[in-house]
């Protein structure tokens, strides 16, 4: 149902021609060099995380003489660093915001997507929702801060959960509504005849069918929430409540000279998204592009 990104041309003669111009293997060498530039920062970061800072400064290029798990051990188990705490904060915030986003966007997407719920100003209302899609976060975040301050939610998980979910709603509802609008109406009609209420039809029949879209919305938002910084440093200033990204900034600042452990903290912090990407890279790419291509 989505534009398949795997689709490539059947025709490969174009590439052969290109290779002809550049000489055999020339194209591959250029592309490999480019790919190396893309991947080297990751590789270097991982290698650094298994060394110690003295070694790194002596020979930035070198490979670890012996694998140093010390950095990771310290991060995970040293109570003074408390890295686990930040990880936990991020999981609570991302998970909570995801839950709110999913509940609201599936319901909204169903209402906006199905033609039986069409109403007179639907276009305008939907347009209002999509209005925020392209706006920079800076146009919202100062009053969002005062709002949370007035509600007494600053420095709590709730502030980030509530605002993250709000920022995610336009694109999530949009994706859900597109998906719902493509489902056939026979099932809906049948369940209605069987006596299901509107809510039961949504919850028991239609929502399970939307699983692929839910997965897309989940992946996309999880990554955005996990990586967010602007709101994370604005709404939360209490060191104990910091999310992982805010903690990294602070951590690298405080351990300014201990590059090895800093590198290990970066590696650990990107593990969740990296693992998800490795498991379902196509779904990930689809999630990140679907909203833009159709919009």
């Amino acid at each position: 149902m989505n534009p398949s990104i795997r689709l490539t041309s059947r025709d490969t003669s174009f590439i052969h021609r290109f290779q002809g111009i550049l000489g055999k293997g020339g194209l591959t060498i250029i592309l490999m060099a480019f790919t190396l530039i893309v991947l080297v920062p990751f590789i270097w970061m991982v290698i650094m995380s298994f060394r110690n800072t003295g070694d790194i400064l002596n020979n930035p290029f070198g490979f670890p003489q012996t694998l140093e798990f010390e950095n990771y051990r310290k991060l995970l188990f040293d109570p003074e660093i408390g890295f686990g705490r930040y990880f936990y904060n991020s999981i609570v915030v991302s998970g909570g915001a995801l839950l709110v986003t999913l509940i609201l966007s599936t319901m909204g997407g169903y209402g906006f997507g199905r033609s039986r719920y069409d109403f007179k100003f639907r276009g305008w209302v939907f347009g209002l929702l999509l209005f925020a899609l392209m706006l920079p976060p800076q146009i919202f975040f100062i009053p969002q801060f005062t709002m949370m301050s007035r509600l007494g939610l600053l420095n709590s998980y709730w502030s980030l959960i509530l605002i993250y979910a709000a920022t995610a709603l336009p694109v999530s509802t949009y994706l859900m509504s597109t998906y719902f609008s493509q489902l056939p109406s026979e099932l809906e009609d049948a369940s209605q005849i069987d006596g299901c209420t509107h809510w039961q039809t949504f919850w028991l029949v239609m929502l399970p069918l939307a699983r692929p879209a839910i997965l897309t919305v989940t992946l996309m938002n999880f990554m955005n929430f996990w990586n967010e910084l602007l709101l994370a440093i604005t709404l939360v200033t209490d060191p104990k409540m910091r999310t992982i990204q805010a903690a990294l900034m602070m951590f690298v600042g405080e351990n300014g000279s201990n590059y090895a452990i800093a590198a290990a903290s970066l590696v650990l912090s990107m593990l969740p998204t990296l693992i998800l990407y490795l498991i379902m890279s196509d779904k990930f790419i689809e999630g990140l592009t679907a909203g833009a291509v159709k919009g």
């Binding site: 290029f61 719920y117 509802t173 910084l229």
Partner: protein, 303 residues
């Protein structure tokens, strides 16, 4: 129509709509539209804590007038504008080339696609910090490599000078986001009907004619989307700049996004009105920019 019918109609027709659409719209208006409008309101006031209470004092256009005389603001506008013109152009040229190569199945195309997309998964904080190390003067990967091949003169203090830091910021953000533009273009390319390409070939068109005359026009709307998204991306970019340079040295890489956050919460200037005016002004610039890209490029296609 009597009252009973219309109440019935409300129950069967409008109630379900409200049930599904109501929550998301209420939430969105409360947490997004209200703050959006409040930013405009704030921008005409001074909002500072007096005895622990946020106090609002109306100042009219003062914030906007002050902005025009704020050298740091002007510097950050200049930086952001340079970036948001150079960045998208670099990005679309690379992305277009790479997307075509993958589309035409260059050997290892699946590996390339996965690899080139990877920077996008990584948070701006990680990207910024790692590149801060890579461009480190003494032991950064770049300078060590340059010295290793004897180019000691080229090993600059990349992030500590007047001229190079902005270039570094532009490069790093490009490194992190070109893959996104590429995948968007790939998705656009998948909409090109193969039959059309076959037909053109039968008619004797060569490969470059096929690309220029058939694929580019079909791809044009996607290219506009890519440019607009890339442009907006630079206009709002915060994370990478914050972690890479923090706007320094001496505001040489300050962007509007970082300056707004500093004036609102970083420095103890204790006024939310002034940064709000900045946001409003910037919102206007983004809107005008998007409008111009759309108008200018839409016209190109009508030949």
């Amino acid at each position: 129509m009597n009252r009973k019918v219309s109440r019935n109609q409300f129950k069967t027709r409008w109630l379900p709509i409200l049930l599904f659409v109501g929550p998301v719209m209420l939430y969105y208006i409360g947490f997004m539209i209200y703050p959006f409008l409040a930013t405009f309101y704030y921008s005409f006031n001074t909002i500072a804590p007096i005895k622990g209470e946020l106090t609002v004092t109306f100042v009219g256009l003062k914030n906007y007038i002050d902005l025009l005389g704020d050298p740091i603001f002007i510097q950050s506008v200049k930086n952001t504008l340079i970036w948001s013109i150079v960045g998208p152009v670099m990005e679309i040229l690379t992305a277009l080339t790479l997307a075509f190569l993958i589309y035409f199945k260059v050997p290892l195309h699946r590996f390339y696609r996965t690899a080139w997309f990877t920077p996008l998964l990584v948070s701006g904080v990680i990207v910024g910090l790692v590149f801060r190390w890579i461009f480190n003067y003494e032991w950064g990967l770049l300078n060590v490599s340059l010295r290793a091949v004897g180019l000691d003169d080229w090993a600059l203090n990349w992030l500590g000078r007047r001229d190079t830091p902005l270039m570094v910021v532009i490069f790093v953000h490009y490194w992190a986001t070109f893959g996104y533009s590429m995948v968007l273009l790939l998705a656009g390319l998948s909409a090109v009907p193969e039959e059309l390409l076959d037909a053109a070939r039968v008619d004797g068109a060569n490969r470059f004619q096929v690309i220029l005359k058939i694929m580019i026009p079909i791809l044009w709307p996607t290219m506009i989307t890519v440019l607009v998204l890339s442009f907006i991306g630079k206009m709002r970019a915060f994370h990478i700049v914050w972690a890479l340079t923090g706007g320094g040295p001496l505001h040489f890489t300050e962007t509007v996004a970082t300056y707004v956050q500093k004036r609102a919460f970083g420095w103890n200037t204790l006024d939310l009105g002034y940064p709000s005016a900045m946001s409003v002004l910037w919102f206007g610039v983004v809107m005008i920019g998007v409008g111009l890209i759309n108008r200018w490029l839409k016209r190109q296609v009508e030949y």
